[in-house]
Amino acid sequence: MAGETKARTLGRLEAALLRRLAEEQRTTLSVGRDRVLLESLTPAYAMLLSRMAEKGVLISLGVGRYVVSSWAGDSLAQAAPFNVLLDATLRPYGDYYLGFLSALIEHRLTDEDSWEVYVALREDGTFKGKQLRIDERPVIVTRITGVQRWVGLEHVRATRRERYWRSTLERTLVDSLYRPRLSGGIELIAGAWARAARRPDFDPVAVCRYARAVSVAVARRSGFMLSRLDHHDAAVEHLGDLRGQRNRVLLDLSLSYGEEPWSRDTEWGVTVNVPERALTGWLAQ
């Protein structure tokens, strides 16, 4: 809800700062990134920012990050799109990307939506918790280990000048087999693969590349899914050397349907631990 509108009398320095941000069409401000600008206005910039936050023309996101409020008393949602807030909040912690169920939704691979937001940070990210909140929405944080896994990301436009990091469509699919519990579960994941495979911009080669970067098990699951969705040739060409392995790889790592004597796909060595009738139906959406 918008708070009560406050009287908005701006000092010279406050007006100058807002003007600079407006010229750059920005809605966020970071003490770390904008220190030179702030120091050029006043060495006492901390006091300036604090005063502006009190007046409601800046909304604090914590750790020296602010959102510019076009009208004093704006709520966070009125000040900036959610992903601008997300970027402003997460960037101080290091590299991040919006992924998993949130990226499946953004890529329109599901009709569902989620109040929770899912993001990945590098293992050396300075945020140590598992969850934070932005504008009341829970942000679920997972960590990605290994530099080779930090692939398949895109810098997406949120406003004319502001961007945020998100997994590409193909990386999002690969992540769904890597961290299925963060990706809405196997019904949603299978439906997402089916939708993606029909899209003209779908790149099965990129899927193979990212899957291989993540892990052999994920690559074998991806090979299985591509084969079920009429991209068998691409799967064999780019992941073919991983076929025929004997160790057990489960299709659904979240074990949604429990332990049963499930059938095994002999080509990819993937144990199809979901009911075949259901999988066929999901993939035919």
């Binding site: 939506d113 196997i186 349907y257 139906g281 959406q285």
Partner: protein, 282 residues
């Protein structure tokens, strides 16, 4: 069209329901689009609103967020319909993508994305959230539509008087489509909708018509998608699939949202077995 709610009011509802604000705004844009089509005389007994948006007019509380499903048995020119989907007002602008066929048989058309500009809002919404999809199916419609008033799912005061009415797919026909939707595709949302019909609407269902529509649609679908329907040979197979739905996973449960009165999977399975399946039996 509708009374466009103030941004602050939508924000408050979004927080109370824990539904992202752009989802509610998108839903309002879909409602405007439906009313726009109604104003232009698009709906009649042959051309109706279907799917989740139609289910809402029967009281369903399941959150449906992206598609507007239309169904027609009239011969239609897609290029004309594309023109009808365009809407401009001081509060909102709606611009459809070209209507394109999505099936080999050419009997399903979609406009994706339909983009909209929510001019009445004072909140910025990202471009990829200002979109929805319109599907137009021209196969398998068997019954005349019925006029029903639209609902105001988030209680935002959308209507100044009575809610406007739109031609909807008949309840029995919606139920028949959802029955096959579950049996063929195993999408839990369809099973949950059948539980709602079985519990709340069973006395409105014409049993004989439901059985006939389910059997007739099964025959049509077996012809259109033989691979998917190969183990659904008769109404008896359909009933068996409803009686033994198999386990519903926690993720499937989390995947569908009810604005109010949610069902648990145990309730869904029990209600379908005890209240809905009997409607399909002679």
């Amino acid at each position: 069209m509708i009374r466009f709610p103030k941004t602050e009011v939508i924000e408050a509802r979004a927080r109370a329901l824990q539904v992202p604000l752009p989802v509610i705004v998108r839903d309002l844009a879909r409602i405007v689009e439906i009313l726009n089509l109604r104003e232009q005389g698009f709906f009649d007994k042959d051309t109706v609103l279907a799917g989740g948006m139609a289910m809402r007019t029967y009281g369903s509380q399941r959150l449906t967020i992206y598609d507007a499903d239309l169904s027609t048995r009239a011969v239609t020119a897609p290029s004309q319909i594309e023109g009808l989907l365009t809407y401009t007002s001081p509060d909102i602008e709606i611009r459809p993508a070209p209507l394109l066929p999505t099936s080999d048989q050419g009997n399903v058309w979609k406009s994706d994305p339909v983009e909209f500009e929510p001019l009445w809002l004072t909140v910025p919404i990202e471009e990829n959230e200002r979109r929805f999809k319109v599907d137009l199916a021209s196969y398998g419609r068997l019954e005349d539509g019925k006029e029903r008033p639209l609902t105001d799912p988030y209680e935002l005061g959308l209507w100044s008087g009575h809610a406007p009415s739109v031609m909807m797919m008949r309840l029995e026909e919606i139920a028949a489509e959802k029955t096959l939707g579950w049996c063929a595709h195993r999408l839990y949302k369809h099973l949950a909708d059948l539980a709602f019909i079985g519990e709340r609407l069973h006395d409105r269902i014409d049993h004989q018509l439901l059985r006939k529509l389910t059997a007739d649609k099964l025959e049509i679908m077996r012809e259109l998608q033989p691979n998917i329907y190969q183990d659904l040979r008769s109404l008896a197979d359909v009933i068996a699939a409803l009686e033994s739905p198999g386990p519903i996973t926690p993720a499937q449960q989390r995947g569908i949202r009810f604005l109010r009165n949610p069902y648990t999977p145990e309730q869904v399975i029990r209600i379908v077995r005890e209240r809905y399946v009997p409607l399909l039996k002679p």
